[in-house]
Symmetry: C2
Subunit: 320 residues, 2 copies
């Protein structure tokens, strides 16, 4: 756990490289917003648009031995939508840019990926409004999504306050467990369930909107691992945390829950007085009640799981 897992996991640039990119892009054209899950773009005569891009690369994020081309389309679309969920936004539309290997069946693969993307789009109520197809050495699906907070303020990573409750919308680790069991050739019921979590993850869009409406102070999606993503939220907010529990999905290990990523559960913080209301609204919306897992600490150096330090487990892409 903690080492890169080729074939698995959502990938962003390594945090350090991202910081250098931020500096590269920062000169002279206004402050680019590369610090949250999605960017906020002002629109004349209208509310801002919340926008994010996410790529799935064959051999890096997906293993085509255990995943179909249409799964790749689904995963790419849901990965991008999860960034909107983490801002408390609902989707307005998606664009799908594909790079498909030049080989027999290129047109077939293109259509299969697009079908998977269309299925995810229907499931999430997000129209696919545009796209682009090129050839290339490996399959790459880059999805851009546009969303809105309907006049509300998007929830950032940076708003957590000391004393906040840390919540997660559900148990983690199912996607990593699914990949492990699929690769091992397991045909058990657990493999089927976790395999679906790996191949067809679902962005927590309604919980994201409900968290914003319930006054969440900070939020992030678990794309790279519960531990790493919570550390990122803490870094952005300048706070620490003590976790008292780690909800582990059926069939997964605690290491997979902490470091597996791609579960797309949301981690958020809010005042203790709002937690019951938020939980109730989730249940009324047909979603599971979010789980309290810890408390935000004023000291940013405090990053504890039970009695020990919480390592920055999770997917960090090798760059540089």
């Amino acid at each position: 756990v903690g080492s890169p897992k080729p074939g698995h996991a959502h990938v962003l640039a390594e945090d350090e490289t991202l910081e250098r990119i931020r500096r590269t892009l920062g000169g002279g054209i206004g402050a680019p917003r590369l610090t949250d899950d999605a960017a906020v773009v002002a629109v004349p005569d209208g509310g801002p648009v919340i926008v994010s891009v996410d790529s799935v690369v064959e051999g890096v994020h997906v293993d085509l031995a255990v995943c179909s081309a249409s799964d790749v389309g689904w995963k790419a679309l849901m990965g991008a939508l999860s960034d909107l969920a983490a801002m408390g936004a609902r989707p307005l539309g998606a664009l799908v840019a594909l790079c498909v290997p030049e080989s027999a069946g290129t047109g077939t693969m293109t259509l299969e990926v697009m079908e998977g993307a269309a299925e995810a789009a229907r499931a999430a109520g997000c129209p696919v409004v545009g796209g682009d197809v090129s050839s290339g050495a490996v399959l790459v699906a880059s999805v851009t999504v546009l969303g809105t907070a309907d006049g509300g303020a998007p929830v950032l990573r940076s708003g957590a306050r000391a004393g906040d409750v840390v919540l997660v919308t559900g148990p983690c680790g199912a996607s990593a467990a699914g990949l492990r069991l699929l690769r091992a050739g397991s045909t058990s019921a657990v493999a089927a369930g976790t395999g679906a979590a790996y191949r067809r993850p679902v962005a927590r869009l309604s919980q994201g909107v409900l968290a914003r409406q319930a006054g969440a102070h900070a939020m992030i999606d678990v794309s790279d691992g519960l531990a790493l993503d919570l550390h990122r939220l803490a870094d952005a907010s300048g706070i620490g945390f003590v976790l008292h529990s780690v909800p582990v999905a059926d069939g997964a290990t605690e290491d997979e829950a902490l470091g597996g990523g791609e579960d797309y559960e949301l981690v958020l913080t809010m005042g203790e007085s709002e937690v019951e209301n938020f939980g109730q609204r989730c249940v009324e919306a047909g979603a599971p009640r979010p789980l309290p897992i810890g408390v935000v600490q004023a000291d940013p150096a405090v990053r504890l799981l039970r009695d020990g330090e919480l390592p920055r487990l999770g997917w960090q892409h090798r760059l540089g």
Copy 2:
């Protein structure tokens, strides 16, 4: 001319595959807009956002033997911006998704591509608001741009009317000529000039906005070749055309002007009475006066250059 030119030219899916993708995506989630250069997304309480995605793939659209990594970033950003120009929109923001080969200097290449994208963004007044970096077998830069028509109606491909004048914002073929001369190792002044057109093309954003304001009926950018892109505009509008001239860039051939692509000039049609006003506004804005090159015909079967049929020259990507 007319055959695919690996290493050169902007690429979209082959028109036929795009039609099949449209059908795949069309089921049940509203009518996706995959028929114009960019898509139009409605935003609550605001004007629509115009959005497009464009990818540059190493070995398919760019030849890294004659093009630096920062050129790739520039080209990807300008290619996407050109789609906004073709709708008469101005840019609000861009997202850059990179896939960078896993090899020595991955971090360096990432920063170089991002630097080129940032330079193009500054030149066009378009902030880079987000991005994503992954590893992969070849360099892929996918850029999504968001824009606005400031309350005006975006100019589509489909509005051309019989009797309209066909205009192009400048001579074509410089990019194709530049690639040819760079590959031949030429160090002439012509190679330097056309090489810059290949490596650092510029989207005609101001001319696009002025064309919309001047009442252009239909518009498209010359990304895949003057001939092919004009045929596409004619297909979408259900009209024909007679071209009386082909403006050829210095150092280029007429075949390169017709079939080279990636010049990012705009081809548009408007009523004859608007042409002088549009030309004057371009000159006042410091842009060259657009060149009348033909007349729109009511019969969609008429597709003539001077006395002969205009072939569908231009880049068509091999798919399927």
